[in-house]
Symmetry: C2
Subunit: 350 residues, 2 copies
């Protein structure tokens, strides 16, 4: 275990911890006393049928969804019990830097999207006796988990909205993610995963941030110099003052754990590689919501999957920020789209 | 100087060398006895009005344009005197690895697109007494040089066809190119530019290739598994068997010299930053030819510039290979488009 002051409630808001015990992983290995960090909004009703589950994205935590939630919004804590569960390895839930031996640091095992969803299922059923989810919604790796939920627990998930993500990761996404990982592992300070502080990997994390700058936004974002959407004033500030410090505060092994998982997200692992069969299992009413300027989860990739899902519709979100539209920098221009679709989805009888 | 067996006539076809003497650079510094490597097809006619000039792209040499040229093609050596001039720093013309002190290796000065175009102008006028160019055509950094030619020597350039490139490099292109450079300079073997062999920088060159894999093609190329367009059979072969060895054979400092130049291509340097004024100077009939799937020279960026060019048309090329469409892997599907537009351009009276 090492100290990393980024992963605190001061930075990520209030969250609870729940142990799911010794958790066996799909790829082998086990996380002893596996902890899930989760944040809730609103209250579970007596019928336990007002649950909205939100899984987290790469490098994100529960706090990232705070701007998606509010009174009079689609994700309304007055109506719903909203639970955001931090994915394993994201720095708040059990992760390389906060786990004791034998799964500390470089010894942390490989975790899959399917492991996360099984872990979340255990939390919801054990801790809250939840048997029905009104909506699973999440962005990016949160979308990967949303798909996994809908395929793995089709009777439990009534509605689902994967935003800017896919059910089966693409080759292009795989190689993109590899460059993000190589930016970190090529830093001698990474030391095979056994550094003392993320500061020793500052160069690698900086390169990691720089690749995100290329792929995470859109060419049009840069052309129109939309720095103000991230509350900075120049290209230099956007890269050196926002993106680089953001990633340099994070744990390198956490990013690598999530990246490995992202690369292998694939619901067709449940059907011997048959994606059509896997997506055909979905019973949820689903809105597939890609972002039009996304450079690595492009609309056409998401649409191809949507066509294989029985009770689904394609709802394209516009954002000049591309994938980072998820961050919500565009404010109402973005969230009004999200809310409109989610309101419609939530009001659809199932 | 160090030996690099990649830069031979065996690999790049026959070329001539011409010295333009001691060549002063726009950013300061000078290349003593600066050598330009050039290849020609066909013969210069008596009127010296049948010249087609082709500048090279990043990492490419004269040989890369061989599939663009042929009898009954637009670029027909039976009709035209076609001259391909290798850009400074590309490994064949004066470059870090082949230059003696005081400009060897890490001491090689920064070179700009404008330097290349001035050097090429000197070659054409000194060596061949050419005063008129029927067509300047080039891809990517070759397009950057094409724009520079049309703005810098408007009376000399009669027609111009920049393919998959811009007149003023974008911020997004700048940061993308930075990641390509960081992949190399982060390799301890690069040693500030003073290695003994490119093999010492193999890891950095591999990461460089991997980033090209993400941005150089298109998501659809990977989705449709179009490996056969590069004469390989799998994703693994495409990355590990084609792209990585390709870049690992090249000189790291050469790639860095070209990348620095690419980042700063900007015809508005001639007009105090006024792009509209610079492009307004162009007298050539110009076809602006972006590739529809290009991830970093997108059509809309090229179209915005085209609208500022008096006698120009937008001619979009389709290629599932994105920017690497330039490599011509699609054969007739690609070259028929190029030939059709260039035939029309060449038959336009000016």
């Amino acid at each position: 275990m090492i100290q990393n002051d980024y992963y605190t409630e001061e930075n990520h808001g209030t969250y609870e911890m729940h142990s799911i015990g010794d958790f066996e992983l799909e790829d082998g290995g086990m996380i002893p006393n596996c902890q899930l960090a989760y944040a809730t909004y609103g209250a579970l009703n007596d019928a336990k049928d007002n649950v909205i589950l939100i899984p987290t994205w790469f490098s994100g935590t529960n706090i990232a969804y705070d701007p998606y939630i509010g009174e009079e919004r689609a994700l309304d804590p007055e109506k719903y019990f909203i639970i955001i569960i931090n994915q394993i390895g994201n720095g708040l839930s059990s992760s390389p830097h906060n786990s004791p031996t034998p799964v500390d640091m470089a010894n942390f095992p490989n975790v899959r999207i399917s492991d996360d969803v099984r872990a979340q299922h255990q939390l919801l059923t054990e801790k809250f006796s939840i048997e029905e989810i009104a909506l699973v919604v999440g962005g990016s790796m949160g979308a990967q988990q949303t798909y996994e939920w809908a395929v793995r627990y089709p009777d439990m998930v009534k509605r689902a909205a994967p935003i800017a993500g896919t059910a089966k990761n693409t080759d292009h996404d795989f190689i993109f993610t590899s460059t993000l990982m190589e930016a970190i592992t090529s830093d001698p300070g990474w030391n095979g995963g056994n550094y003392q502080s993320c500061e020793e990997v500052a160069d690698g994390l900086k390169r990691h941030a720089n690749i995100w700058a290329v792929m995470g936004l859109s060419t049009e974002f840069y052309k129109q110099k939309k720095w103000d959407l991230f509350e900075v004033n120049s290209l230099d500030e956007f890269i050196n003052g926002f993106l680089q410090p953001l990633f340099q505060a994070m744990d390198p092994n956490a990013l690598l754990t999530m990246a490995w998982k992202w690369q292998r997200g694939d619901v067709s692992r449940m059907t011997n590689g048959n994606l059509e069969e896997a997506l055909g299992r979905i019973k949820a009413k689903m809105f597939v919501m890609p972002i039009d300027e996304d450079m690595f989860f492009p609309v056409r990739d998401c649409e191809a999957e949507q066509k294989l899902i029985p009770n689904s519709e394609l709802r394209v979100i516009h954002s000049i920020c591309g994938h980072f539209g998820l961050f919500g920098g565009e404010g109402a221009d973005y969230f009004n789209q999200i809310d409109r679709h989610l309101n419609e989805l939530l009001s659809t009888p199932v």
